[in-house]
Amino acid sequence: MVSYFKHILKSHLGFLIFAMIFIPLIQFLIIEVFTGLETKPFIDSMMKMLPPQIKMMVGDQFFSSLSIEGAVGFGLNHPVVLMILIILLTAITSKHIAGAIENGTMELLLALPVKRTTIVSRIWMIVAFISLVLILFAMAGLFISVMLYDHLHIDFIEKALKVGLNLWFLMMVFMSFSLMISTFMKESGRTASLSSIVILVFYFIDMLSGLWKPLVSFKPYNIFHYYQPQNLMTGQRSLDQNLPVLVILILIFSLVSHWQFQRRDI
């Protein structure tokens, strides 16, 4: 397990280091910008000028409650942060399952006394660990920034940790989904693209549902509906509403991954 973990870490070291620096940094900067500057009057006047649909799209709740909680929610839901996490997770899962089948290293690995379920479980655990570390780094960046602003109190930490936990479960859904796609395919590139495209489509549908009313009724069927950091931070939504759905999806995707990888030809 340790040697395999080292191998995966080495394979993605560059991007991992970048993510470990960039994600906390962006959290730190977002909090700094929204707490250090007098942005409220400026953004309020901007918001008045925007059409209502655009207001909804950019995060109505965040702008309407220009608070540090709103900034935390915005930071942990920033498209660039989500994109980096999704790219990294889909890249790792697709490279070490579909990519390994494509380049023959899976053949080498499975000629050794290693169970197929062990391989899937290892990758699952390693990616879960990596995403947890990245989210903890993001939380660290965020807490440091809030601490400098002198706003760090138990209630805030609890809310932020809930958002972090929710984000981790969301990433685990994406990772399990990508793992599942990988177990059906043989090419790393196509697998990563397919997983990312499906996730992106859900992301855009979630954005569009704020603009186009017919889509609102489909919101519960969108995975991003179960990650609303602004609402979690402002207490408008509880973690209990999100986690059961995410856990069920993680379980389904993971079980299908194991089942498919167990039965497939390498």
Partner: protein, 298 residues
């Protein structure tokens, strides 16, 4: 009689609608070096992958060490060494890291394989290079080491000498013979006829997914039509034999393909003024070409 190390019974494998392997039967006995011959695309690698439980047969059964592969895969792979001709590796590992990795996957303590490294002239410096910067030949040497350094009971080799220079090929043949003397059974797939002829006791020939021959090398040689050439002292009209077919005739030189009993033919040759005569032992190349060109045993 030795026990079967590998037993393949009525194994069939489809890729979509394409029948890659069709009702294949053969067995490898304990302690032998078994040659698995066939041209590219004949189904050799598919059979090997099924032995390693990488591919699942659509029909039939494969047992190794008397155990069904599908159900006892881990236990079987624990006692097997495998090397593919297109040996793949982990780019970001050095040679030594890779060998340590393989050891850890086998749950064995890593001991530097000095003896094997000496055989293949691999130094510490070379083993500490990243595998992505190694030549194909160097990678193949590391592939050989990883397949044997846990002293397997059965070694499965899929075109193992590709990329090795002739000196290293000889070192490799020496190694597998030594392993075999120490009790390792060896399954050797190749399209290099010479190396199979040099090393193997028993041979199976596969063509278009079907086993067309499964014999000892000696028996195979007996089955094959042999070439006979001779030179006459002076021209003779109508040189013909009842059990041979003329292949060529150039002046006083004749070449025949002997298809039946050689004694009969020698009697018929008695009357001819022969000054030179050649009847070489059939080589595996001839046997192989025989199966592929004339469609014998179909």
């Amino acid at each position: 009689m030795s026990a079967n190390v590998i037993q393949i019974e009525q194994v069939t494998k489809y890729f979509g609608r394409f029948k890659a392997v069709s009702s294949v039967n053969f067995n490898v006995q304990e302690g032998e070096i078994f040659g698995f011959l066939g041209p590219n695309g004949a189904g050799k690698t598919t059979c090997i992958k099924m032995m390693l439980d990488l591919l699942r047969p659509d029909d039939g059964q494969i047992t190794i060490f008397g155990k069904e592969v599908r159900k006892n895969s881990i236990e079987i792979r624990n006692s097997i060494g495998f090397l593919s001709g297109s040996f793949t590796h982990f780019d970001n590992m050095t040679g030594i890291e890779f060998l340590k990795f393989v050891s850890s996957q086998r749950k064995k303590t890593f001991v530097f394989p000095k003896y094997l490294c000496d055989i293949f002239h691999l130094s510490h410096v070379e083993l500490n290079k990243k595998m992505k910067s190694m030549s194909h030949g160097m990678l193949q040497k590391i592939g050989i080491i990883q397949s044997v350094f846990h002293e397997p009971q059965l070694l499965i080799l899929d075109e193992p000498t590709s990329g090795l220079d002739p000196i290293m090929q000889d070192a490799f043949y020496g190694l597998i013979k030594e392993l075999n003397r120490n009790g390792t059974s060896i399954f050797f797939s190749s399209h290099n006829l010479t190396e199979v002829e040099m090393n193997c006791h028993h041979i199976a020939v596969i063509r278009d997914g079907k086993i067309v021959a499964f014999e000892t090398l000696e028996n195979l040689k007996k089955q094959v039509s042999r070439k006979l050439s001779f030179k006459l002292k002076n021209p003779v009209t109508d040189v013909a034999f009842s059990h041979a077919e003329m292949l060529s005739h150039d002046g006083l030189n004749y070449e025949f393909l002997v298809k039946g009993n050689i004694e009969e033919m020698l009697r018929e040759m008695n009357d001819l003024p022969i000054v030179d005569f050649s009847f070489p032992e059939p080589r595996l190349d001839d046997i192989f070409m025989n199966y592929y060109n004339s469609g014998l045993n179909q």
